[in-house]
């Protein structure tokens, strides 16, 4: 049978990503140890593990971020490797070092790679040295009009003037050509002065309608680094990705090769191993610019898995154990199209406020090419302490058109009641003509969704019809023919009509 890579893996995370990691451990025959905060005693991830230990109270600082407690739990329970998932301690070099010190394998890159890529200034310099394209602009604030003129010409118009102390669009100006430069610069400086009492401004290339394109990287501890193609994650709300897909309609075969090579170069430049992601902005002319490198498994990794057939988390574990990237991974190609929707606990019809409460009804969509990575089930109480991603719905189909259809159907079939989720919002995005035609830029949501209205009348009427049926069917004397009549208190009767799964504890 398969090789035993580790004796026991502690999964230092919660919810869907902890579950995902445990699936990979189970595949490789490695027992798992879950950690959970007191709020997560009955959580899916704590139940799924072979063993589980309580690690502290709900605030992450006292549980999922408590390095000492986690290392102690690992030592006390015969753990020889820790997978950090994403978020929490996944990109914390101190944690990787604490693992090293405790002679526990950290399933991720080296602390040095993390530290380098975590520093946005240093990493840009490193990338520039390695020949990875960056957004052209000033390295620091400009001094004179001539400075701005020169840099603007180098970067190419349109350019963007930004306040150094900036934020919220104040002191920000798009400049289309050199004629406008002087006037815009002065206006931006005045605005910045008024807003921040600091008129320092700088300049970078303005990228109109950019796309967020990232490349999946896999490196081993023997110096091999490959990429597993792109993901497009342009559909974002306030810089939060919500829909991801691969392949990108904007990435041609040539561009894929160029960007993929740049991504591999970026990873090699920091001596990277494990799974990682190199993020780029892509403009309409096919120019791409390095944004940052994420030194962890990404939320959206399943779309890569569905199209390449590679189990990225299993490969991470094998790499951590010293294995080389296997041939079947090196030779894998993209096949078909995959889309992921993040199922957030939020109210899309009410300013995307986080939604909390108990999940009273839960049913996942099923069918060929549908995958659900979930951290919840019926009865889960969704709190506000943690990340609002409840689950991820991923579909795979031969073409983008078919994947969109499959996703819309699956979102409708995915039933989560008791809290709000933004499934309808995502259906509306996927059904939008601009999405279908691939006009997916990072400003898609403000551009296309700001005037969005949901017609609640059908749901109101159908819902009322369903509930009244439940009410009347509850009444013992209303079965049978039409001529019967009774009085009863519906909210009392309906009390016993709560859904399913009564916990016996």
């Amino acid at each position: 049978m398969s090789k035993k890579y580790f004796k026991k893996i502690l999964v230092a995370n919660r919810s869907e990503i902890a579950v995902r990691v445990m699936h990979a451990c189970r595949l490789l025959g490695i027992p798992t140890l879950a950690i959970y905060s007191t709020a997560d005693k009955n959580a899916v991830h704590a139940r799924m593990a072979d063993e589980a230990v309580e690690i502290g109270p709900p605030p992450p600082r006292e549980s999922y971020l408590a390095i000492d407690k986690i290392i102690k739990a690992a030592k006390d329970n015969g753990v020889d490797a820790i997978h950090p998932g994403y978020g929490f301690l996944a990109e914390n070099p101190a944690f990787a070092e604490a693992c090293d010190k405790a002679k526990i394998t950290f399933i991720g890159p080296s602390a040095d790679s993390m530290r380098l890529m975590g520093n946005k200034v240093e990493s840009r310099i490193k990338m520039a040295d390695a020949g990875v394209p960056l957004i052209p602009g000033m390295k620091r604030a400009g001094a004179s009009l001539e400075d701005f003129k020169k840099t603007a010409e180098e970067a190419g118009y349109p350019i963007l003037i930004k306040a150094a102390a900036g934020g919220g669009g104040k002191g920000m100006r798009v400049v289309q050509n050199q004629k406008e430069l002087k006037e815009s610069l002065e206006a931006a400086q005045r605005e910045a002065k008024n807003a921040f009492n600091d008129d320092t401004v700088y300049l970078e290339k303005y990228i109109e309608d950019p796309r967020h394109i990232e490349f999946q990287i896999l490196g081993d501890k023997h110096g091999n680094v490959i990429h597993l193609f792109e993901r497009e994650c342009s559909i974002q709300r306030r810089h939060q990705k919500i829909i991801e897909e691969t392949p990108s309609v904007a990435v041609t075969a040539d561009l894929r090769e160029m960007m993929g090579n740049a991504a591999v170069k970026a990873a090699k430049a920091c001596g990277y191993y494990s799974a990682g992601t190199v993020e780029f902005l892509l403009d309409k002319s096919g120019y791409y610019y390095f944004l940052e490198m994420n030194t962890r498994i990404q939320v959206e990794h399943p779309v890569t898995e569905m199209t390449t057939g590679v189990d990225l988390v299993a490969e991470q574990i094998k790499i951590a154990a010293g294995e080389k990237i296997p041939d079947y991974v090196k030779e894998s190609r993209q096949r078909g199209h995959a889309i992921e929707c993040r199922i957030y606990a939020e109210d899309a019809e009410n300013n995307f406020l986080p939604s909390s409460g108990e999940i009273l009804y839960y049913e996942e969509p099923t069918g060929p090419g549908i995958r659900v990575d979930s951290g919840v089930r019926q009865g889960t109480v969704v709190g506000v302490e943690y990340d609002p991603v409840l689950a991820k719905l991923i579909v795979h189909a031969p073409s983008r058109d078919l994947a969109i259809t499959k996703m819309i159907n699956a979102l409708k079939e995915y039933k989560i009641l008791g809290i709000k989720t933004s499934r309808r919002f995502m259906i509306d995005i996927l059904s939008h003509a601009d999405f279908k035609s691939g006009k997916t830029y990072t400003n898609f949501i403000p551009r296309n969704m700001s005037g969005r209205v949901v017609d609640t009348v059908p749901a109101m009427e159908l819902g009322a019809a369903a509930i009244s049926t439940a009410l009347i069917k509850q009444s013992p004397s209303t079965s049978g023919g039409g001529l019967k009549k009774t009085t009863f208190s519906p909210w009392t009767a309906i009390g016993s009509w709560e859904i399913g799964m009564r916990i016996t504890r």
Partner: protein
């Protein structure tokens, strides 16, 4: 039976009649045939369109999902007295009404027949469902106002009975 629900500030007034396998619900001019599937799931047909509706009730809050549109309804009023259809006539045991507007499929009795309580009297088809209407009391068939194939509303009784003495 009538209910009134509230969604935010909107009121939804509903009439419900029980039929075989489910209910027929009227909301304004709309007719819905509701078929409970399993706890929390309902199949609703209206104008030839079929939808699966998911809803759960807890602590007086009703959560609804229709094609991923989510909303929460509250029951405002339940009113037995103001009602359309057969329910409106529930006190009148000597008159047999259709449970909802439909077509008479078959009359099971003739004028002059003696009938027992719960004896089937007439079959009415509505929304492609056949519904049997039973006698609410013992008595004799005094008058039949419709014949098979007739369209029937809920205001005029199909059959009038002469009730037996108590």
């Amino acid at each position: 039976m009538n209910y009134e629900f509230k969604y935010k500030d909107e009121k939804i007034e509903i009439g419900v009649a029980v039929i075989k396998d489910g209910t027929v619900v009227t909301i304004g001019d709309n007719l819905y045939k509701v078929n409970p599937l399993s706890a929390g799931k309902f199949l609703i047909e209206s104008n030839g369109i079929k939808k699966t509706v998911c809803c759960v009730v807890k602590d007086g809050r009703a959560f609804v999902d229709v094609d991923a549109v989510l909303l929460e309804l509250n029951l405002a009023v339940q009113d037995d007295s103001v009602s359309g259809g057969a329910d409106a006539h529930a006190g009148e045991k000597d008159k047999v009404f259709a449970p909802m507007p439909g077509k008479i499929v078959k009359l099971l009795v003739n004028e002059g027949d003696a009938v027992e309580e719960r004896q089937p009297l007439v079959i009415v088809e509505a929304m492609k469902m056949e519904n049997q209407v039973n006698s609410a009391a013992k008595g004799k068939v005094k008058k039949i106002n419709f014949k098979a194939g007739d369209q029937v509303g809920t205001e005029k009784p199909i059959i009038e009975l002469e009730l037996a003495e108590k």
